[in-house]
């Protein structure tokens, strides 16, 4: 018989309009002793204002270096069911689309082998199976793979890539985010499952500059859709928006970062040469404006959270890649591997690629991976005169 915990603190959090995670833990606790002990432990944390988890040891499934986060409570005597409480990271399908059948299979496996609690999803994008014992890992893994699922990344490896819904349900997708996310994931299964990098290596795919998976903020490789040709414009629809109350002048023209729009109260003009493809005008009037036809992606590099050298945003590496084209995609993969090699060779332990670039210098990094420096990569050229001069061979000879 499972213990019955009094949870006055947590009960408070069953109230109110927002969906309650306490309700979820209780639902799970009804069927599952681990979740029941979790409820008790969490109430205790609420009372003590202190977590009760220990640093995880290394646990996992055979042949994989990642995908499982080991976790143990520091009060195993009092909460024996969660003395082990490891999570599994399961690689989600592109765009988080599911059949109900697949979900039922997952639930079934998890109810039999784990806590019955999940995160849908983890913030990298995985399905998180939240809490089980070491012994259950292999059985879960076997059933998962038989059902067509596999573990995601953890540790110093490629992490589970993720992508926005893209062409699945968005008119602005400039490339096939779902497909390319899937392709990268499949291509680098080994890198995903067997950590051998200096640190994490994350990929995120957004179909346009709205960046609905926040790729630029949290992926080492951020792939963001864009287009090259003119914004498509339907003046009649522009008029309708104006009639329906859009203040085209203040809401659209004044907000254009390129200051490249003109509106005379009737016709809207865009100087597409100056347009930065920021999406704003399109976002405001989706029926009237649309990205052009010559679509592709920008590849950016280096984002990460603050530890240790401060947070980084990704920065432009390739300003335009026709990523839907298989050949260009292969070229891109070659570059990815080249970068991995350089970073693995020269990177320090726990140094993300963005930090690595900052340490060795973007110019040197580009040289090492064989990419030509171009002004699209920078917001502005250096403003300090501390230049390490490198004269061309020719010039040097001339000088001698």
């Amino acid at each position: 018989m499972p213990k019955e915990y009094k949870t006055p603190m947590l009960d408070e959090l069953e109230k109110g309009p927002w969906p309650s995670f306490v309700k979820e833990i209780k639902l799970a606790a009804k069927k599952n002793v681990m979740s029941n002990d979790l409820l008790g432990l969490l109430e205790r944390s609420y009372n003590e204002r202190l977590g009760h988890w220990k640093h995880g040891g290394i646990v996992g499934v055979f042949g994989y270096g990642g995908g499982v986060i080991g976790r143990y409570t520091d009060l195993p005597e009092e909460y024996p069911e969660i003395s082990h409480f490891h999570t599994l990271r399961i690689n989600q399908p592109s765009g988080w689309f599911y059949t109900t059948e697949a979900l039922r299979t997952l639930c079934d496996i998890w109810d039999r082998h784990g806590s019955g609690l999940t995160n849908m999803h983890g913030s990298t994008g995985d399905i998180i199976f939240l809490g089980t014992k070491t012994d259950e890992l292999e059985p879960i893994f076997k059933e998962l793979t038989e059902a067509g699922f596999d573990l995601g990344g953890s540790g110093s490896d490629m992490r589970t890539p993720s992508c926005c819904v893209g062409p699945g349900r968005c008119e602005w997708a400039c490339y096939d985010t779902l497909q390319r996310c899937y392709d990268i994931t499949m291509k680098y299964q080994d890198e995903l499952h067997r950590p051998a990098f200096p640190y994490k290596w994350k990929f995120k795919f957004s179909g346009c500059p709205n960046d609905c998976v926040a790729a630029i903020a949290r992926a080492d490789i951020s792939i963001i859709g864009t287009w090259k040709d003119d914004i498509k414009m339907d003046q009649a629809e522009v008029k309708k928006y104006a009639e329906n109350g859009v203040d085209i002048f203040n809401d659209v023209v004044l907000n254009c970062p390129a200051k490249c729009m003109k509106y005379d109260g009737d016709k809207l003009e865009i100087n597409n040469n100056d347009c930065r493809r920021c999406m704003h005008c399109i976002n405001v009037m989706p029926k009237a404006l649309r990205p052009g036809d010559d679509k592709g992606a920008i590849v950016l590099i280096g984002a990460k959270a603050p530890i240790v050298e401060g947070a980084l945003l990704s920065s432009v590496l390739i300003p335009f890649l026709n990523i839907d084209d298989d050949e260009e995609f292969e070229d891109f993969c070659d570059l990815v591997e080249e970068m991995q090699d350089v970073w693995c060779e020269e990177g320090k332990n726990r140094e993300r690629v963005g930090e690595f670039i900052q340490r060795v210098g973007m110019g040197n990094f580009l040289e090492a991976v064989g990419v030509e420096p171009i002004p699209e990569m920078i917001a502005y050229p250096r403003d300090n005169p501390y230049i390490f001069f490198e004269m061309d061979e020719d010039e040097e000879e001339e000088e001698e």
Binding site: H55, F85, F97, P286, I307
Partner: protein
């Protein structure tokens, strides 16, 4: 064990998403023309073919039981041909080609406890992390704070009455698994006590050079304590980042009194209008006050209200502040400005006000 190792399948990767796409999505894949937001949480996407696909977005606690997932599958089976999806911010979305289903899904999901909203100029789910539910590193809980904040801000979830989107995210420690650093409002668990060094066990559990190297401010030095190899801490140099603890369990920082929450404001991710920006410090420290963290919820409400009242349409929190200036932000919110707000890390110099462009009131 042997049993489970037999016929073991590995490295198959995730299922092919194409198997999981609803028929309307498959048919109109890449052929969407435009969309409209019909009401908070309800979108319609219109395809070149003329097909219409309605989406009902439902709030989710993210931490969900199989019981609830199974409930979602019931809804999806009933109204959505057996398909559903989750969003990048962990909401659950039901896609249907029948307009009539929209109201039904909405009703059943709301009834179950998953209200509909989060589209357009609203506040959608708070991206968050594990907190006391699962992580050893947490300086606060995640789900509980999120629940408290969203309960308080609920009117902004199921109505679209803000100037623009407002993205809130929470991370329970400086590792920032919630990648909160580019959020309109970031809730960040923060320690303010020094690591307590377990000299007894340190050398057994950890490699001393790794610990020293882990400290961004070089506050940790190898030292022999009671005859055992260990480390010593230069306290003035420690700013509680916990990176040493990540590397070595013998240096815990968690503390019931000194742990708490900091609030950050004005970040964004999208490239719309302005370039992506980091969130900036608004409130350095609020002690943990479970179960409802009232000081946190009210500070956040203050920010949201002040912004909502003063910003222009389409102006994200950070864009508004950039236009009117940080002095205005501190004045209107009433948040105290202190030395702690002034950057002293790597790029500090660039954060000083290096111009005479100043407002006066």
């Amino acid at each position: 064990m042997l049993d489970v190792m037999k016929d073991r399948i590995t490295d198959i990767g995730p299922p092919d998403f194409k198997e999981y796409l609803p028929p309307a999505v498959k048919k109109n894949y890449g052929q969407w023309k435009y969309h409209e937001i019909l009401e908070a949480g309800v979108l319609v996407h219109v395809a070149e073919s003329g097909d219409k696909l309605y989406t009902v977005r439902c709030g989710s606690p993210r931490l969900v039981s199989t019981t609830s997932i199974l409930f979602y599958t019931e809804i999806a089976d009933k109204y959505c041909d057996g398909f559903l999806r989750f969003t990048s911010r962990h909401n659950v979305e039901f896609l249907t080609t029948e307009f009539d289903n929209v109201a039904k899904i909405k009703a059943e999901m709301t009834e179950y406890g998953n209200p509909v909203g989060g589209t357009g100029p609203s506040i959608t789910s708070i991206v968050h992390t594990q907190g006391w539910v699962h992580c050893h590193s947490a300086a606060t809980d995640a789900s509980g704070v999120v629940k408290a904040v969203m309960d308080d801000l609920f009117e902004y979830f199921n109505e679209m009455k803000l100037p623009a989107k407002c993205r809130i995210a929470l991370a329970c420690c400086l590792n920032m698994c919630g990648a909160v650093h580019c959020s309109d409002i970031a809730i960040l668990g923060i320690h303010t006590a020094y690591p307590r060094i377990d000299h007894e066990n340190l050398n057994k559990l950890c490699e001393i050079p790794n610990i020293s190297a882990s400290c961004p401010t070089a506050a940790i030095r190898p030292a022999t304590v009671d005859g055992k190899p260990s480390v010593e801490l230069i306290e003035e140099q420690c700013m509680y980042c916990a990176n040493c603890f990540t590397v070595c369990p013998a240096m815990p920082l968690a503390d019931p009194v000194a742990d708490g929450i900091s609030l950050w404001v004005g970040g964004k991710v999208s490239n719309a209008r302005s370039e992506p920006k980091f969130s900036k410090l608004a409130v350095p420290f609020i002690p943990n006050n479970p179960p409802r963290w009232p000081e946190v919820t009210s500070a956040i409400r203050k920010m949201v209200e002040v912004w909502a009242e003063n910003a222009r349409p389409y102006e994200r929190m950070g864009e508004w502040i950039d236009r009117v200036g940080w002095p205005r932000f501190f004045k209107l919110t009433g948040f105290e400005f202190s030395k702690m707000h002034i950057d002293d890390f790597k790029y500090a110099g660039l954060s000083f006000k290096r111009s005479a462009q100043i407002t006066h009131e």
